[in-house]
Every structure is written in C-alpha cells, then in structure tokens.
C-alpha cells in the first residue's frame, strides 16, 4: 500500500517490457497487454488520488535513502490528479487505437513508456529525477510521432526532437545553476535553500529563467511553439489524440511545480521581471495561438494552434499566482486534456468515415456524419467555454483569480480569448451544420482526393472504417467534458488545501 507511488511509475514500464516480450512470441498482440496495464494503472492512480486528496501528501523515499540525499516521490492532490488523468486518457485512447492502429507491439511498448514517463514527472519530488522523466517521455513521444508511415511523420518527429531536447537541456542547465547555488536537488529542500541563498542573486534568477524557458519549450508557449503543430499534424491520429491531451499538460504541471514548489511565490514577488516574463508568455500565446488557429486550413493544425492559446491560459494562471487562479489551472489542465484529446480523436473518426481533413472538407459534414459532427460541436463549444462544460469552469476560475489579484490586463485578454476561440470554432461549426455538402464522391471516400490518400497513409485503414471503439472513445470524451463541468466545482474545493500549500 505504502509502495504505491513507485509502483505507479514502474507498472507501465514493466508493461512496456511485457509487451515487447509477448511480441517475440506473436506479433500484433500488444493491445490486450496495454489495456490490462492501463486498467491496473487507473486503479492504482485512483486509490492514490483518493488518499492524497483526502489525507494530504504521500511521501516515499526511493530505496530507503532519506529525503535531501535520496530521491523522494511526493504525491499531493495535484500530482495525483495528473497521474489519474494520464492513466485514464491513456486507457480511453487505447479504446480508439484498437482499430485505428498502429498495431505493432513496439508501438504499444512505446505508448506505455510514455505513460510511465509522464506519471514519473507527476509524482517525483526531485528536480533531476524530473529531468530524466521529462526526457523519457520526450523520447517516447518522438518515437510515437514517427510511428506513422509517412516521411512527414519522421520529419516532424526530428524537428520535435531537436527543439524538445534543446528545451530539456536548458532545464538541465537550470538545475545545474540551482545545484551550484544550493547543493541540493530535492524540491522541498531546494525551496528552503534557494530562499536562504537569496531570491534576487543572479545565480538563482538565472536558474529560474533557464528552467522556465526550458519548460516553455515543452509546453509550447508562443515564441517556442513551432514544433507543436508540425508534430500534432504529422503524427497518426491515435498519437495526436494522446500527446495533445497529455504531453504539454504534464509539462505545464511541471511548470507549476517548479515555479511554486521550488521557487515559491516569494520569488515571484522579489523578481517582478520574472513575473513579467510569465505574463508576456501567456498573453503572446493566447493571442497569437488563436490568430494562427483561425488562419489554418487543416483541422489538426488548427487544433494544435488552439492548444498554444489554451496553454497561454495556464501560464497566465501561474503568473496570477493565487489560489483561485491555480485551482482554475488544475481544472483547465484536466478539462483541456479531455476536450483536446477528444477533438483530435473525433478528427480521426471523421476522417475514417468521410475522408474529410480540411476546413473546406467539413462543409455540410452534419448531413454525411451527424453523430461525428455532433460530438465535434459539443467538444468545440466546451473548448470555447460555453457552460456547463468543463472549459467554462476552468476559465471562470482563472479570470476570477486574475481579477482578485488586480491583473486587469490578463483578465481582459483571457475574456477576449474566448471570443478568439469562438472565431475559429464558429467558422468550422457553421460549415459543418449549415453548408451543403460540396462535390460528389467525397462521401464514399473522396476517390483520388488528396485528403483520402493522406488518410490512408495516416491510419492504414480505408475510409468508412471508423470502428465502434473509435466512436465510443470520442463519445465518452464529449460526455466527460460536459459531466466534468458539473463535477469541477466540487473538485475545486477538494484540491483547495493542495493549492493553498502550493502558494503559501
């Protein structure tokens, strides 16, 4: 029972090894192993989350080495939420992946490795350990992005690898600075020692800047976002669903952890320029991400740029740095993962049914594939922040937090961003529901059309091949996005003690 935190990390990694071993006996057997591992993972994360949210943080010294010297795993309400989110989304995407593929065993092994890496980032209490898990999940993501058959996937993965590794290396350099300043790597110990070393000394400020900029790359905050649309659009649909939901989300969690657990709110108060960097990154991401999303013609690229803008909101909440805004950030991280992952999977399902992949293809989609259009519409409006969906609750908390802190610029940008989000969502929804289907032959797979050929390569299946599992996964995402909206206020109260501990 008390060994649950390390098991949470070890389980998916062992599952990955098992998947490879089973693959030696018989190929294309990875799916059941991955499902079994994910179910166990959801259970373990659920038990841990209940304990952490009810009774406060769970601490575990790895290998029995006590805290400041050994590696410590710390599971508080926020980490438990992330671990549970990672496990559940991974399970949901697996339902989708059964038919949509890729089906090889190495794919599922990498998939589980990614789950292990992301869970590791969520539960670790040691900065260097966090770097290692950041790289493990990074490596798994690069491999997953490249798992499509097309040359474009490999190119997108390489670009992601170069930029992502550069970001992680900056993070590592930041750890080096912090280590030189304090001589410790444990997060709790670091926060005390950094305060002692002086929050305004150049060494500490440099450590903060390097770590935050490194994580900005991983989160895809505006000027450092260039890898993200290419990677999301170049990856197979299953993979875009998984990584859009989880990878940037967990990186944003890491940002919250570094800023508040390691450097603390006092650091932000002592260094207004650090605060200004966060605000600038947030505002630039929100505005530019939305504007770029409006101008895209490919659906997956549009959704990718929309992620840039949504994570601007999270960074904004970090800059506001009060309980209300950070509760909003926690809710929005979960909500965005469900909504965006669901939207990417819906895109894949729609492409499977009709071959539509661009904004123009979506004209009159409601007549050809009503269920898919309905789900897409629900998720898209949830993303805009239409109540009662979860997108509304997250944004509400963040805006209220910003007003509470007197950050009027940020509050107005966030409210304005809702209009910008509406701009690209409404454009699409209008086409889907109120336009006549254009051209013939698209319905039966768009024979010879570019979209269909792209699809064949991307999913390895033929149009009309959206399986029941795929449809069930996207439907579940839509339902969860709405239901979570109702549950979010209760969750907000549940996580408040954790957030209070974070900002005090």
């Amino acid at each position: 029972m008390s060994d649950l935190p390390p098991m949470l990390v070890a389980l998916p990694i062992l599952g990955a090894v098992a998947t490879m071993l089973v693959g030696l006996v018989r190929s294309e057997t990875g799916w059941p192993v991955a499902v079994l591992t994910s179910v166990l993972q959801v259970g373990a994360a659920g038990v841990l989350a209940r304990g952490a949210l009810r009774h406060g943080p769970v601490r575990y010294a790895v290998g029995g080495f006590a805290a400041p010297y050994g590696i410590e795993l710390v599971v508080d309400g926020l980490s438990a939420t992330m671990a549970l989110l990672v496990a559940s989304v991974a399970l949901g995407v697996l339902a989708y992946a059964r038919k949509a593929g890729p089906r090889s065993n190495p794919f599922y092994a990498t998939y589980l490795l990614l789950v292990g890496g992301l869970t590791g980032i969520s539960v670790t209490g040691d900065v260097f350990n966090m770097y290692v898990f950041l790289e493990i999940s990074g490596l798994a993501t690069y491999a997953l992005v490249a798992s499509g058959d097309r040359g474009e996937s490999a190119l997108a993965a390489l670009k992601y690898l170069l930029v992502g590794t550069f970001g992680a290396s900056l993070f590592l350099l930041g750890i080096g600075y912090a280590y030189v300043a304090t001589g410790t790597l444990n997060m709790a110990d670091l926060s005390a020692q950094l305060a002692e070393a002086g929050h305004t000394t150049p060494l500490v400020v440099a450590a903060f800047s390097l770590m935050v900029v490194g994580l900005f790359v991983k989160v895809a905050v505006f000027p450092l976002h260039a890898w993200q649309p290419t990677a999301y659009a170049g990856a197979p649909d299953t993979v875009s669903g998984l990584i859009s939901a989880l990878v940037s989300t967990v990186a944003a969690y890491a940002l919250i952890r570094i800023v508040f657990t390691v450097f603390t709110v006092d650091f932000l108060h002592a260094n207004p320029s650090a605060w200004r960097v966060l605000v600038a990154g947030s505002v630039a991401s929100i505005v530019t991400g939305s504007l770029l999303a409006v101008s895209q013609s490919e659906i997956k690229r549009m959704l990718a740029y929309s992620s840039v803008s949504q994570f601007g909101l999270i960074v904004g909440a970090v800059a506001v740095a009060n309980v209300t805004a950070l509760t909003g950030a926690a809710i929005h991280l979960v909500g965005h993962a469900v909504m965006k992952g669901g939207l990417f999977l819906t895109t894949g399902t729609v492409a499977g049914e009709t071959g539509a992949r661009t904004v123009d293809d979506y004209g009159g989609l409601a007549k050809r594939f009503p269920a898919g259009s309905g789900v897409f519409g629900i998720l898209a409006f949830a993303l805009v922040g239409v109540p009662p969906a979860v997108g509304f609750v997250g944004k509400l908390y963040i805006v209220l937090g910003a007003i509470e802190a007197g950050a009027w610029l940020l509050a107005s940008v966030i409210v304005g961003s809702t209009l910008l989000t509406l701009a690209y969502v409404a454009r699409l929804v209008e086409r889907m529901f109120f336009w006549e289907p254009e051209g013939e032959g698209r319905g039966d797979g768009g024979d010879g059309a570019k979209s269909a050929s792209v699809l064949d390569e991307a999913t390895g299946g033929e149009p009309g091949g959206a399986s029941r599992g795929m449809k069930a996964a996207v439907l579940a995402a839509a339902v969860v996005a709405v239901v979570l909206g109702a549950a979010a206020f209760g969750y907000g109260q549940l996580i408040e003690p954790t957030i209070l501990r974070l900002v005090s």
Partner: protein, 117 residues
C-alpha cells in the same frame, strides 16, 4: 583577469554550448544538426562536472583525506549521458527514414521537395 583564469572551465563549457547551438540552428544538414545538439549537451555536461571539482581535492572515498570532490554532479551526468546517447540513436534512426523518403539530408532541399510551408 585572475577570475577568468581560475574559471576558464566555465568559459569552455559555455563556448561549447554556443558552438552547439550555432551548428544546430545554422547548418542545413540534418546529421550536423544532431552533432550540434550533442556538442551543446556536452557543454552542459562539462558545466556540471566542473561545478563539482575542487582544486587539489581527493576522490570521495572514506580512506582518502579531505577535502573531497563532490560526486553528485558526476553521477547526474552519467545519467544525462545515457539520455543523450538514446536521443542520438533515435534521431539517427529518424534521419535514416527521412533519407529513404526524400533522398537527401539537406533541410532546404527537403522543404523544396515537399513544396509547402
């Protein structure tokens, strides 16, 4: 000046990082970009190693006389080197695939072949 001489390891570390970044951004050849990334990481490794070094100190063994060299950065960098090797392996694998599809390693030529963006 005295400071420069006593701290020149750090200068070398940052010089390596600069060179690596420059190659990674400036070169059109994909393999050289990966080499640039490696050089950049090596700079960071050197930074860590140097930070643990104490002039004239002995290795951290109970039998050796103090002062000791700090062993922690060395251990960290062992891990980081393993990460770096895996990254290089993955990136080279990707480059092999890219070369098979496009028949070139020149970034600009690939962009031309794809004809978009």
């Amino acid at each position: 000046m005295d400071l420069l001489v006593s701290r020149f390891h750090y200068l070398v570390a940052f010089f390596l990082m600069g060179v690596g970044t420059f190659v990674m951004i400036g070169d059109r050849n994909l393999v050289k970009k990966v080499i640039g990334l490696n050089v950049f990481q090596t700079g960071i490794f050197l930074f860590f190693i140097v930070s643990g070094y104490v002039e004239g100190a002995s290795p951290p063994l109970l039998t050796a006389p103090s002062p000791y060299v700090s062993p922690v950065p060395h251990v960290l960098i062992l891990t980081a080197i393993v990460v770096g090797v895996s990254l290089t392996a993955v990136s080279l694998g990707l480059i092999v695939r890219i070369y098979r599809v496009y028949g070139t390693l020149d970034e600009a030529l690939i962009r031309e072949v794809r004809g978009d963006e």
